[in-house]
């Protein structure tokens, strides 16, 4: 199982936390597509607190956190 935590505006119309069944080769790009989140809405994609490329494979049991960009002053 992979736990995906969404933050801020990414929660709109979605749950705060979503579980994904693990399969070999599952990656960030697949998860974003399943959640209907365009890549350009993602600022930080963390796997167990580490910055990951969307193409890197994710392991069973990993916890993912996805944040949109905040840039105002």
């Amino acid at each position: 199982m992979i736990k995906v935590k969404l933050f801020a505006t990414l929660r709109e119309g979605r749950a705060n936390e979503i579980d994904f069944e693990f399969f070999p080769g599952i990656n960030g790009r697949f998860i974003l597509e399943k959640l209907g989140i365009p890549e350009k809405q993602v600022s930080i994609f963390l796997v167990n607190g580490r910055d990951y490329s969307l193409d890197e494979p994710i392991s069973d049991g990993d916890v993912i956190a996805i944040f949109p960009p905040v840039g105002g002053g």
Binding site: A8, K40, L46, A65, P69, G73
Partner: protein, 228 residues
Amino acid sequence: MIEKKYLRNFKMLSLEEQERLKKTKVLVAGCGGLGGYVVEMLARLGIGWITVVDDEAFEETNLNRQLFSTVNTLGKKKALVAKERILEVNPDVVVNPILTRIEEKNAKEVVAGHEVVVDALDSIPHRILLEKVCEELKIPLIHGAIAGWYGQVTTVLPGDRTLSIVYKHHKEGIEKELGTPSFSPAVVAGIQVCEVLKIILNKGELLSKKLLYIDLLNQEYQKIELHF
């Protein structure tokens, strides 16, 4: 003897620490929503020298959140208004207004000589430039950003390069859709000033390689440990 105006800083600050603040130069980049609150709080703490960098003048759309914007300051340069305001609050503080935008060509010259820099800008490319220059000059950078109900703070020590990672795909954030209300800049600015103080006094735990992501809609505060 502690000066009477700083009596309520005592004993959170010792007499020596209060004296230390007087000898400190802090640069605040941007004097809008975040920057106004940051400058005000630094001055009331007793920071001796505050350089305020901003080339804009106040306009009506600033009134919902920018502390130094009033009907009387509309049309006036933000950095000059900051100086006038701080003269009324704490005339012992030197406010050095610089009416420019930090760009590649002037950044090093503007930033050099300060002990801490505060990122209160509203443009992601300029924030990344500031991070680069602070790293070159080995100056800690306290970053804050807001969008609607949300905000974030991180302390970038030279070499951390946190902003280059956090903003690697983006030139603008969700604030373009969500706007910027009165309360989120105040919250984020308060946390930024607290980080400035801890750096100067070398105490407490900093948000270095950690991003504090603030969700005021749900009152959730995530301190994300970043391992880049």
